[in-house]
């Protein structure tokens, strides 16, 4: 049991260890995941922010272009370079529109009107010339009429953007939709080596409102406000505005890369790319974004894992240590448990009620036997009541009165009845009666002891009670049997006496009968004188008295004496009554009986019982010495210092050892079958002991002697 428990606990610890490591692993993974999720979330936010910035920035070009259109309107369809230049300054052009190389105006000129347009234009600007980007010819031209600042954009002035398909498509789209339109990525003429760029067109009609239909728009189109945008400028802007860890790539809907903000090697990028599409200027831009594999992120991850591994080791070590500690404490715990269960088993296994209380009487311990005897459950009483609750209150109050009287103090607390003497003397054993809940009365022998702590202070009381109802019952049974035996032995003794008693009565009867006969004969002979009559009558009277005395003694002897009250009687009287019943037998057996000593000594007793004992001893003596030549019995009464001693000595020479040892036992007899019951001495002993005395046998001066001492 003991070993198996250890084994299972060993497995338990191993299980706990691996469980712990498993949990740590899981936590680490979970944390890592959560960490990554967080990173991903912040990356995602960063990307969204960048996306938003791009979209916003592109839209700001539209606002810029719309402003340009406004200039055109207020200037009655003409756009002078000076105004555009002023406008650009006014709008803080290069700051607010990063990547934009300038603002300009593109005019639509039909092929047939080209010469007229050119002639008019050359009035103000003699060197104005039109250049095509490709050789391809279209029915109209989209000529860059104004572009500011001209210093950096001179190469674009006079360019027919309608001669190149990408630029034309965007311009026509803008014209038809009435909305801003972007070109696909193109190589700008201003700086071909600076990477891709694009043009942004906003249509201008010869009407205040944008015409309703495409057809009307095509007819009323004047030209476009436009801005060339260098993608590298956007990149610079993005570099400054978005997370530097963020890698962005913009693709045109044609699939062509517009910009990317970092040239770093691909392996440094994260694997997870974000993607989103925005709609700008009639084109769909795909924005791809990723965050650089951050050194910090890996460091944090590594640190986390190392931390948890370290924690795991520490945990394991603690578990291991703890197991050792637990093993030790477990041993003592097992010992404690064993001790506790022992104590509990002893407490509840005992057939004695074991009850402990606080000094004020409140019950603290109440074992099973106590529950059985009182009918109360421990839980009903503990912490609530004093033991007085299940005691016969009359007894308790009586004890309290006795103690109050004895010690001349006023005791009112019922609990004092139990603890007054123990507190004073250490312990007290007394018989009490428990009143069981079921109404029965349980006689108990209760031993109360004070419980003391190390400093000898009383911290409570311990009561141990034995159920003595069986003992009481047995005592009652024994008493009944004793009385029955006494009665039986008495009857037996009476039977033995009957012959002697008959003899005692026979003679007086014969005497009376004889006297009467003689007197009648005298009467018949006429010789009966007065003096004869007087003499005869007095003899008859005397003899009758003799008979009545015998009868009285016999009646007293045969009566049930067990319940007689104890009375003060002189030993002389007891002896007289006894000897009256055996005088005849003594005479017949030629036994000389002598009585001496203090016959006036008194004894508080049931005289009939004492008489019976004496009769028994005399009878035994008579039987014992009948065969001897010298036959005498001597009864001596000695009263000394409150002690009374009656000795019955006979001429016998003592009783054989083996007989003497057993003769006081019930039913032991040496007499022939039918001659004796064997109860005489044992009952005599019982009677004397019931009177608080002692019956013993000894040899006095070589003779058999029985001694009754009170």
């Amino acid at each position: 049991m003991y070993q198996r428990s250890y084994l299972s606990r060993g497995w338990f610890f191993t299980f706990i260890l691996f469980l712990g490591l498993g949990i740590i692993g899981l936590i680490t993974l979970q944390l890592k995941q959560s960490f990554l999720d967080n990173i991903r979330l912040s990356e995602s936010r960063s990307f969204q922010k960048a996306t938003f910035l791009i979209e916003e920035k592109v839209n700001s070009y539209i606002h810029g272009l719309q402003g340009m259109s406004g200039i055109h309107l207020v200037n009655n369809g003409t756009i002078s370079p000076r105004l555009v230049r002023d406008y650009a300054v006014y709008r803080h052009f290069f700051t607010n529109f990063p990547g934009a190389l300038g603002f300009g105006f593109v005019r639509r000129v039909e092929k047939k009107s080209l010469d007229t347009y050119l002639a008019n234009k050359r009035k103000d600007f003699k060197t104005f010339n039109i250049r095509s980007i490709t050789q391809k010819t279209y029915p109209d031209h989209f000529i860059i009429e104004v572009i500011e600042p001209i210093e950096t954009n001179a190469v674009a002035l006079g360019l027919d953007v309608g001669s190149e398909i990408k630029r034309r498509e965007a311009a026509e789209l803008s014209m038809r939709t009435g909305k801003p339109a972007l070109t696909a990525p193109i190589d700008l003429v201003q700086n071909k080596k600076a990477g891709k760029g694009f043009l942004f067109f906003l249509p201008l009609y010869n009407k205040t409102q944008t015409p309703e239909t495409i057809n009307e728009r095509e007819k009323s189109i004047i030209g476009w406000s436009y801005t060339p945008i260098q993608s590298s400028g956007l990149i610079d802007f993005l570099r400054n505005s978005v997370d530097e860890q963020l890698v962005l790539q913009l693709y045109d809907s044609s699939g062509e890369l517009i910009i990317k903000n970092d040239q770093a090697v691909d392996k440094r990028y994260r694997d997870n790319w974000f993607e989103t599409t925005i709609s700008v200027g009639g084109r769909q831009w795909l924005i791809k974004g990723a965050v650089l594999k951050s050194f910090n992120v890996s460091m944090i991850n590594l640190a986390t894992i190392l931390f948890f591994l370290f924690f795991g080791f520490v945990y394991t070590w603690f578990i291991y240590r703890f197991r050792k500690v637990v093993k030790k404490s477990e041993e003592s715990e097992i010992k404690n448990q064993q001790m506790e269960s022992w104590q509990s088993a002893i407490l509840n296994g005992a057939d004695y009620a074991i009850i402990s209380t606080l000094p004020n009487g409140i019950i603290t311990t109440f074992n099973k036997a106590a529950e059985r005897m009182t009918g109360y459950q421990a839980t009903e009483l503990i912490g609530e009541f004093s033991p007085a609750i299940f005691h016969d209150l009359d007894e308790v109050k009586q004890k309290l009165r006795y103690l109050s009287h004895e010690h001349n103090i006023e005791l009112t607390d019922l609990f004092d009845a139990f603890i007054f003497n123990p507190t004073k003397d250490g312990t007290e054993t007394q018989e009490w009666t428990y009143l069981n809940k079921n109404g029965s009365r349980i006689p108990v022998k209760l031993c109360v002891t004070p419980l003391k702590d190390a400093s000898d202070e009383i911290i409570g009381y311990l009561g141990v009670a034995e159920d003595i109802s069986q003992i009481k019952k047995m005592e009652a049974t024994i008493e009944t049997q004793r009385l029955a035996m006494i009665s039986g032995a008495k009857m037996s003794a009476l039977g033995e006496m009957a012959a002697g008693v008959a003899h005692e009565i026979n003679n007086p009867l014969a005497i009376i009968s004889g006297r009467l006969t003689v007197m009648r004969m005298m009467l018949e002979d006429n010789k009966l004188e007065k003096e004869n009559i007087e003499e005869g009558l007095s003899k008859i009277n005397e003899t009758c008295f003799r008979i009545s005395k015998i009868v009285k003694g016999l009646r007293a002897f045969s009566r049930d004496s067990g319940t007689d009250p104890m009375e003060e009687t002189t030993v002389g009287k007891i002896l007289e009554d006894t000897l009256e019943l055996c005088r005849e037998r003594l005479k017949n057996h030629l036994i000389d009986l002598t009585v001496e000593g203090d016959l006036s000594a008194t004894l508080n007793c049931r005289s009939v019982e004492i008489s019976q004992v004496l009769m028994n001893l005399i009878s035994n003596s008579m039987d014992a010495i009948d065969h001897l030549t010298v036959k005498w019995i001597n009864i001596k009464v000695i009263s000394l210092n409150n002690k009374l001693m009656i000795t019955v000595t006979d001429s016998g020479n003592g009783i054989p050892q083996e007989v003497a040892e057993k003769m006081m036992d019930p039913f032991f007899t040496t007499k022939q079958l039918g001659k004796g019951t064997g109860l005489g001495l044992s009952i005599s002993k019982g009677i004397i002991e019931a009177h608080g005395g002692r019956l013993s046998y000894k040899i006095s001066e070589g003779h058999t002697q029985f001694v009754i001492e009170f």
């Binding site: 012959a499 008959a502 003899h503 009565i505 026979n506 003679n507 009867l509 014969a510 005497i511 009968s513 004889g514 006297r515 009467l516 006969t517 003689v518 004969m521 005298m522 002979d525 003899k539 003899t543 005479k587 017949n588 030629l590």
Partner: protein
């Protein structure tokens, strides 16, 4: 009736009883000799030598000389003399007494007339 007066020996330790029995017998005109025990009775027997009838108690104090012993001794001296024994004890039955040599056993308590009749009977025979 060779002699004028028949002589009866009464043996009993109970003096009152012996006296009253003797009074009654004397009233009938008999001569009476009283002894209180067997030893004394044998002594009286020898003194008088003319005893016609013995009435004796069986249980009497005295060394080895109760009624039974007395009967045996008397019978040794005179084989025909009537002997009446008186007893209070039931163990002394008629056949036992006769075996011992007594003529009659009377159990106590007895009617006094019974004794007187028996005395008449044995003396007249």
């Amino acid at each position: 009736m060779a002699k004028n007066l028949n002589k009866v020996l009464i043996v009993d330790d109970e003096q009152d009883l012996a006296e009253v029995l003797s009074s009654a017998l004397m009233m009938k005109g008999l001569d009476v000799v009283i002894a209180s025990n067997g030893v004394e009775a044998l002594k009286k027997w020898d003194e008088h030598n003319d005893i016609d009838l013995v009435i004796s108690d069986i249980r009497m104090p005295g060394l080895n000389c109760d009624g039974i012993t007395l009967t045996k001794k008397v019978r040794e001296k005179n084989s025909s003399i009537p002997i009446i024994l008186i007893t209070g004890y039931s163990e002394f039955t008629e056949p036992f007494a006769q075996k011992m040599g007594a003529n009659q056993v009377v159990s106590k308590p007895f009617e006094f007339y019974e004794i007187l009749c028996l005395v008449d009977k044995y003396l007249n025979n």
